[in-house]
């Protein structure tokens, strides 16, 4: 017990430190960073002689290399994957772009891209897209564009000849979507894993409760009923708890929708109680979720009717049958039934209102609901729903 709990503790804490699902993207981004720095180096070698202050330009390039090493380490190690670091990177990129004004002439700036290159500046678009998603990724791309526009004192609206703005937006969008998808898939997987663990735990618990508590309660209830007298009352209590526990452990998991369908078996099993028995197939009965909801509600209506009108001690039985093309649910009780000619009274009692609601639900599903009853023979609802008929959604 103890060891299990502590192991769960470690699992919990390890999840907090779980690797970022976007890690592969961060790695790929650093490869891009390396290539973009090599490109910037080539550009620097090619244009350095044309600059006004070539030595200062080389010094700036050294700072750029150092900054990129820091960024690569930060993003690869993980400590850089935070809003603050990405924001700083954006500021640094803007500063590098604007620093072109200090090393080059106005004419050079009109004819060329910033000394650090637009390709290199795209690194921050990628970082922002991975960190924040597509919207802020595209935002960072716009900032990069804006900073080089400031240098030229103009912005090129001729998208045909200068596609930079489109490329920046596209990179932000594509990488951002990839990061978003990776995180969503990871969250989904994590949810499924947790669900599986919870189910397993429930199964184990059910086994233990089953082998211990339920057996003992059943025995106590049985023995004390035989002894009789006040002990019988104790036995009754034990018996109630035994039945409640059995229902609890056999209820299994709540129905998990599989696509647009849901299994009716656990749905109806959850209606079991001291006064309601269910007869269900061992295999799942899949049906459109919307249909299942209506059907379940109709069963609840019918059971409410039983509880309210069938008389004390009446027992209800719910039978689920999968006929392939249709699903049939019968709800029968062994109560007092409705005598012929007393339907009027039944209307007054509100019984018919509920009946109308059951019939209405089934009609809406394209199915049918029939009620058979008689004095002393209880009532029986038979609800038939064709498969794949759920109207609306």
């Amino acid at each position: 017990m103890l060891s299990e709990r502590s192991s769960r503790g470690t699992r919990e804490s390890s999840r907090a430190l779980a690797p970022d699902p976007a890690t592969p993207l961060w790695r790929a981004a650093q490869v891009f960073r390396l290539l973009s720095v090599i490109y910037a180096l080539g550009f620097q070698i090619a244009v350095n002689v044309d600059l006004e202050r070539p030595i200062a330009a080389w010094a700036l390039f050294g700072v750029l290399v150092a900054w990129n090493i820091a960024c690569a380490v930060a993003y690869l190690q993980g400590f850089g994957r935070r809003a603050m670091w990405v924001a700083v990177e954006l500021v640094v990129v803007v500063v590098f772009v604007l620093s072109t004004a200090t090393v080059a002439s106005d004419q050079w700036m009109q004819d060329n891209q910033p000394w650090a290159t637009t390709l290199w500046a795209t690194n921050v678009t990628i970082s922002a897209a991975i960190q924040f998603g597509p919207i802020l990724g595209m935002g960072a791309g716009l900032v990069v564009i804006a900073s080089s526009a400031v240098l030229k004192d103009s912005i090129s609206v001729n998208l045909g000849r200068h596609a930079t703005i489109v490329i920046e937006l596209a990179v932000g969008l594509a990488v951002g979507m990839a990061a978003l998808t990776a995180r969503r898939a990871h969250a989904e997987l994590e949810r499924a894993t947790r669900l599986a663990a919870a189910l397993e735990e429930r199964e184990r618990l059910s086994r233990e409760v089953h082998d211990g508590a339920i057996q003992v309660l059943a025995l106590v209830s049985r023995r004390s009923r035989e002894i009789g007298g006040p002990t019988a009352e104790l036995g009754e209590l034990a018996g109630e708890q035994e039945r409640a526990l059995r229902r609890l452990v056999s209820a299994g998991s709540p129905p998990v929708p599989v696509g647009a369908e849901v299994d009716l078996v656990p749905l109806l099993r959850s209606r079991e109680s001291d006064r309601v028995s269910t007869s269900l197939p061992a295999t799942p009965v899949m049906i459109a979720s919307a249909t299942a909801t209506e059907l379940d509600a109709a069963v609840a209506n019918a059971l409410d009717n039983v509880a309210a009108h069938a008389g004390a001690g009446a027992h209800a039985f719910v039978l689920l049958e999968d006929l392939g093309a249709s699903v049939v649910v019968s709800i029968r009780d062994d109560g007092v039934g409705i005598a012929a000619g007393r339907l009027g009274q039944a209307v007054d009692e509100g019984r018919v209102g509920i009946s109308n609601s059951i019939v209405g639900r089934m009609k809406w599903l394209g199915g049918s609901a029939t009620l058979s009853t008689g004095p002393g023979t209880g009532t029986e609802w038979e609800l038939t729903v064709p498969r794949g008929s759920a109207r609306g959604s």
Partner: protein, 218 residues
């Protein structure tokens, strides 16, 4: 209450308190409890020796399941009749036990007199069932009809059998069903029993085919 034809009974349950309590109750009711067992292996060994008329079978045993124990007992003592006495509600495992040859199912919360009646009925070759079990059996026939095993027609229910199983699943007693259909009580029980038996035969055929296909038949 001493019973005519007091059957010999073996109680298989891994819970010692339960096993002893049930055995004592049965003795008081005039049954001859000839053996008790806590697991699949001990049930097999003892059944081979004592050949009990009725075996009261728990679904969860120390070294296996009630289904395995049912198969094991019927292997060494084919004339024994198996009554599943389970603390669990009717689920797939009870259906498996019926397919393996059990002819009855009772929840452990049943009273002493209900238990005695169920053991007696099982000993007489009658099927002991609950609405939940009937629902499972109905569902199983429909499953087999939908996905028939290769090469053979799946076992199916006659109209009358379906009708009767549905009534049982809806909580009617054999007596009530007999009145409704103007049949004898015994005929109704025979029909239910037939539905169990056909499942068992189908199960055996399926197992045999599986064994042949996989070369497991020794």
């Amino acid at each position: 209450m001493a019973v005519e034809g007091g059957f010999t009974v073996m109680v298989v349950d891994d819970h010692p308190i339960w096993r002893d309590a049930v055995a004592r109750d049965l003795v008081e009711d005039g049954f001859d409890v000839v053996a008790t067992a806590a697991g699949v292996e001990s049930a097999r060994r003892r059944a081979a020796v004592v050949k009990p008329d009725v075996v009261l079978m728990d679904m969860r045993l120390g070294d296996g399941t009630g289904t395995q124990a049912t198969t094991a007992v019927l292997e060494v003592s084919p004339s024994s009749r198996i009554l599943v006495l389970s603390a669990s509600a009717e689920r797939e495992d009870v259906l498996q036990a019926v397919k393996a040859g059990a002819t009855g199912y009772l929840v452990k919360s049943a009273s002493k007199s209900e238990l005695a009646e169920a053991v007696r009925a099982t000993g007489e070759g009658r099927a002991v069932f609950t609405p939940g079990l009937a629902g499972l059996v109905l569902g199983e026939y429909r499953r087999m009809a939908k996905a028939p095993a290769k090469g053979s027609a799946p076992p199916s229910l006659s109209e009358r059998e379906t009708e009767i199983l549905r009534y049982v699943a809806k909580g009617l007693t054999a007596k009530q069903i007999a009145e409704k259909l103007t049949l004898s009580h015994r005929t109704v029980e025979n029909h239910v029993q037939a539905t169990f038996r056909k499942l068992q035969v189908a199960n055996r055929v399926e197992l045999a085919r599986y064994a042949i296909q996989h070369g497991l038949d020794e």
